[in-house]
Symmetry: C2
Subunit: 357 residues, 2 copies
Amino acid sequence: MTRMNVSVFVIDCMSENMTEISQLGEFGLIERLTKDFPLRNESSRLGAGDDAAILNFGGEDVLVTTDLLLEGVHFDLRYVPLKHLGYKAAIVNFSDIYAMNGTPRQITVSLGISSRFTVEHIEEIYAGIRLACELYGVDLVGGDTSASVTGLVISVTCIGEAKADEVVRRSGAKPTDLICVSGDLGAAYMGLQLLERENKVAAESGKDFQPDFAGKEYILERQLKPEARKDIVAILREKGIKPTAMMDVSDGLSSELLHICKASNTGCRVYEDRIPIDYQTAVMAEEFNMNLVTAAMNGGEDYELLFTVPLTDKDKIETINGVRMIGYITKPELGAAMVTRDGGEMPIKAQGWNAFI
Amino acid sequence: MTRMNVSVFVIDCMSENMTEISQLGEFGLIERLTKDFPLRNESSRLGAGDDAAILNFGGEDVLVTTDLLLEGVHFDLRYVPLKHLGYKAAIVNFSDIYAMNGTPRQITVSLGISSRFTVEHIEEIYAGIRLACELYGVDLVGGDTSASVTGLVISVTCIGEAKADEVVRRSGAKPTDLICVSGDLGAAYMGLQLLERENKVAAESGKDFQPDFAGKEYILERQLKPEARKDIVAILREKGIKPTAMMDVSDGLSSELLHICKASNTGCRVYEDRIPIDYQTAVMAEEFNMNLVTAAMNGGEDYELLFTVPLTDKDKIETINGVRMIGYITKPELGAAMVTRDGGEMPIKAQGWNAFI
């Protein structure tokens, strides 16, 4: 039995030898925490470090991913409706399973609920989860529900399925592979900027204020009701394309490109003028006086698929509506860079969302 | 797109038609939330309502359970060391898998970390998780790490494995089955009472206070460093005993007996003088002037196994050290009751831990 230190255990005190979490950042912290965990079981195929863990039961690959959403960090209930929140909490997990080229099958949902919530509020969250489950064919199979003395906590775990030769990791990209991305980028981020601005104005203007979202529906929807790219995974399969590497764009394209390059031990070149951006995103960036490409590269929460394919799949990729080739994989010594419109090169740095800054 | 109500979405307002969560309680809330979720996938065998969900991949049963631990609700860092907290967070999930007669194989761990924590604090939590994983042969395969603006949040999901004919649910108990329980009950609860008392005294006495835990090691250990009954599951298998129903004692024996009776559509009789109680638990209850049997029946957090076996297994059960027969299953119309020492009957009521009261 460990000696007990009742009331002496004061975690608030920072001694000299302590390391602040912001020094490591989220990915650094995860790496440090998980490095001493060997995989012992035959059923554990891949641990932390990809969009999902890969397990194997009865010869089938089983994918597991989990996301923790905390009030005040990941969402703001002043402008996020509870139903949308439930929907998004499910979708971001489905997205991780698709990013492994798998199919999401089950989720568990745990909720920490503070006393200001009623049963009807929680039912709203579940209505969003239910809708997501229906649309994506996923079953809710369990969870945990508890009171919270602080804010709302949502923890979702998703289990997916894949044939053993179907799974795509981040680590398979090879030099000359084409880099592709689905949909467009930066819209969810601009939607968030808009919501935060209108919320601030609303707070200052009082009850009669009505925000005008006309013409901005797309960026709002991208922020509040994102979708997972089930359709893209299906069409790639249909066309006989198996990506060499894949992940979803949750932290921003820059951050994800670096993940793929690191895991695959490669560099990359992406072309600034190939980054897909919707016109509403562009208009909003203009209105906010923000650099459009920076928003698209670093905004995050797009839940699009970023993947690499062999050069030989170029013709097939060109026939897919909604997928754009944005660059190519290089040898590692060339590093990761963006080729700007004027032909220059800018190193890609991760400026993605970091909850610890 | 749903119409947006920026800053009009005030969840704090309780309208007349709203239901407070405490009216339903934890189990009532879960039942209401999960009732509209059909299982669509062939791989989903059992959803919410048991210790773990049952999935099936490649002909093998895969068990999934999840627990959410919130600072200020489930643990108090004034007297719970972080390493113990990590250990316990893992163990309570392993326990749910053993309670299905399965073997825990993988866990994911998500943490919400407030700014008062350093990297070294988080490493302490992980040291506890690592120790639990080593001792129980479980692999850490992923998770999510985020800042928290409120307290510490720990969400653990555990994946277990079982042959398809091995899984034991809560629903298989039959009249005349013997009710068995491993270990002893009420100790973790008395340990908690002791810690809370000493912590209060410490706060009042200032820095020099040293709590005296001599002779109380067992109840403290039961609260701070519980174990999952891997050994009991192994010995039952060894002796060729497959329980008809099983679950772990996390909310208290009363609550769990009612779960088994409800799921199996039976009643039960348990004998007051058969409830296993350690002498430290008895001494502590005396000191606190608490009813000992109430503490043992309703304390919770014992993580012992409660199971039922056919009467024909009686002789085998009697040879197992650390398992006690405490009663028997009856027809449903007889209800659930405890036979007191004087031969009377007292209806069993769930007074287990409820985070929503």
